[in-house]
């Protein structure tokens, strides 16, 4: 009797631990929306999303420049990271001698472990300077600098998930291809990679989510100019940067404060949709594989 009772009690407590993540997500949603939705009593949603001007002193809040900047840096990061990441994943899954793999794998894990603010510092001192001096730009603090740094940061995500899905491709496909007189590379390009495509796509979507949500690395290198960027050499200010830079100046309960939370809602929704799509995708990919 007593044993059953205590077992049930333990089970209950552990159950609460198990759903803790979900509780936190709900709390995040509640608090983000509680503060953020308030902003839409000052600015309507459409003006907020499409408005070009963001001027807290005039209480004008249009986030278009931030949204476009976020998209710009992310697209740039993906353009750089996908080829390098996918090729590295193929290398690890198909080509790498065991000894080399034992070096490369931990290195990639370490790359994922470096704090983002250190990426920012590195980006500011090395990449920004390179763009300004070597590429002879008026300012090195640019979308391009942000893209490069983000690309390096999301490489581990793309590599590890892509490699896993490449490894899950049945050996029989590869053998079948080779037995027909295909070269190893032809088998990779025409059979193995297409068969792993859903996992690879999931890794890319996850990478996009990471890139859009990243703050510290980006804020130090993009210049933070509230203006619609038109080229990769322009400065920009992504959503995350604005939140970080302006939270400190906004008085709690002011329209500015609420608008910052509204930016948070925007960011949260974008990233959540990307993550959920990629997780569902990955789950399906695994089941079929």
């Amino acid at each position: 009797m007593v044993r059953r009772l205590s077992e049930d009690m333990v089970k209950g407590i552990l159950g609460i631990c198990a759903i803790f993540s979900i509780i936190i997500i709900f709390l995040i949603i509640i608090f983000l929306f509680r503060e953020g939705l308030e902003a839409f009593s000052y600015t309507n949603v459409i003006d907020f999303v499409l408005g070009r001007e963001w001027n807290p002193s005039k209480e004008t809040f249009g986030a278009a420049a931030f949204i476009v900047s976020s998209l710009f840096v992310t697209v740039g990061a993906i353009i750089i990271a996908v080829p390098v990441g996918l090729l590295t994943a193929i290398f690890l899954a198909e080509l790498s001698p065991q000894r080399v793999r034992e070096v490369v794998k931990p290195a990639i894990e370490l790359l994922a472990g470096i704090p983002s603010v250190i990426y920012g510092l590195f980006g500011l001192i090395v990449i920004v300077k390179y763009i300004r001096i070597t590429l002879d730009q008026p300012t090195g603090e640019s979308i391009l600098a942000g893209s490069i740094i983000l690309a390096i940061m999301i490489l581990p995500t793309i590599i590890s998930i892509s490699e896993d899905s490449l490894r899950q491709v049945p050996r029989a496909y590869k053998e079948g291809s080779l037995a027909l007189g295909a070269t190893h590379w032809e088998s990779i390009a025409r059979i193995i990679v297409p068969s792993a495509s859903s996992g690879i796509l999931a890794s890319i979507i996850l990478g996009v989510g990471r890139a859009i949500g990243e703050t510290m690395a980006v804020v130090l290198v993009v210049g933070n100019v509230e203006k619609l960027p038109t080229s990769f050499f322009d400065s920009g200010e992504p959503l995350t940067s604005t939140i970080l830079l302006e939270m400190g100046e906004a008085a709690v309960g002011s329209p500015h404060y609420y608008s910052i939370f509204a930016l948070g809602i925007l960011l949260f929704l974008i990233v959540m949709v990307l993550n959920i799509v990629s997780n569902v995708w990955l789950g399906r990919g695994l089941k079929r594989g």
Binding site: G113, V117, L121, T183, E214, T215, T240, M247, G264, L267
Partner: protein, 276 residues
């Protein structure tokens, strides 16, 4: 181009990509070490900063980071391991367990700046904890919870069934079995998750900047007070151009911490692999 030349070229490209990936790591770490080493001295590690960090050291930031990351792990570990036990030992695979896992994965994807906003609105303001170690530590705990949880789950799942059955066969209760068989066997995996979480908590900036970090170079007296922290200090030094030398010194300290954590994790994994 003939098929063999193409293959040779592509294999070259694959090697080159791997090399590029590795070189990013080598260059970043090499650069931080090269630039940061001159800043490191006994005084730098043991003294408080002076003139907003232009002079002096980073001691309060080191202490603050230990407090914050420590509190985060202290909170996240029981919840994470408890949740993992629930999934592995107390429930069958079902929609509900998948929902729990989905929740953890979703939480894991929330951007750190959102944790910052949430920590501010919920802990600092609504709960009234103020800008404090408590607020910052809890925010970080929420953030690393999925890491601890999923790693623990994997470790516990790896405990062989026959070991558990052996314990039941001796008349042990479920709780005794968990305590004497399951946890001891999965401890190294659980610790791995904790160290990974520790590393992440120590390096995150955005979540603590609104919830815990200040520039005031004093040691916190209680967890209800704010504190300095390494990543936030590094951010301030860099963004305001206060002292690049000290910024690199701080970065070096932070990176050494991360390296040590990673080393620990791989040591634990190696040891486990050997025992098998």
């Amino acid at each position: 181009m003939d098929r063999y030349t193409k293959q040779t070229i592509m294999k070259g490209v694959l090697w080159a990509s791997a090399l590029i990936t590795i070189s990013f790591l080598v260059i970043i770490i090499g650069f931080i070490v090269y630039k940061g080493a001159p800043a490191i001295s006994w005084e730098f590690l043991t003294e408080a900063p002076r003139r907003s960090g232009r002079l002096g050291g980073i001691f309060p930031a080191i202490v603050g980071t230990i407090y914050l990351a420590g509190l985060a792990v202290l909170v996240a570990t029981p919840i994470g391991v408890g949740g993992a036990l629930f999934l592995t030992e107390f429930s069958k695979e079902s929609k509900f367990t998948r929902f729990i896992r989905f929740g953890a994965d979703t939480l894991n994807g929330v951007p750190s700046i959102i944790f910052g906003l949430f920590g501010f609105a919920f802990l600092v303001y609504y709960m009234g904890f103020g800008i404090s170690i408590l607020s910052g530590g809890l925010t970080l705990a929420f953030m690393i919870l999925p890491t601890v949880f999923r790693t623990a789950e994997e470790a516990i799942r790896a405990v062989p069934r026959w070991d558990k059955e052996g314990s039941y066969a001796l008349g042990a209760t479920k709780l005794q079995t968990i305590w004497h068989v399951v946890l001891p066997q999965s401890i190294s995996g659980i610790v791995t998750g904790i160290i990974l979480g520790l590393g992440r908590a120590a390096g995150e900036t955005a979540p603590i900047i609104f919830t815990a970090a200040i520039l005031n170079p004093v040691l916190p007296g209680s967890i209800m007070q704010p504190t300095m922290a390494l990543p936030a200090h590094l951010y301030t030094l860099t963004s305001e151009g206060i002292s690049m030398q000290n910024a690199f010194g701080t970065a070096l300290v932070l990176i050494v911490m991360v390296l040590v954590f990673n080393l620990l994790v791989s040591l634990i994994r190696k040891k486990k692999a050997l025992r098998r």
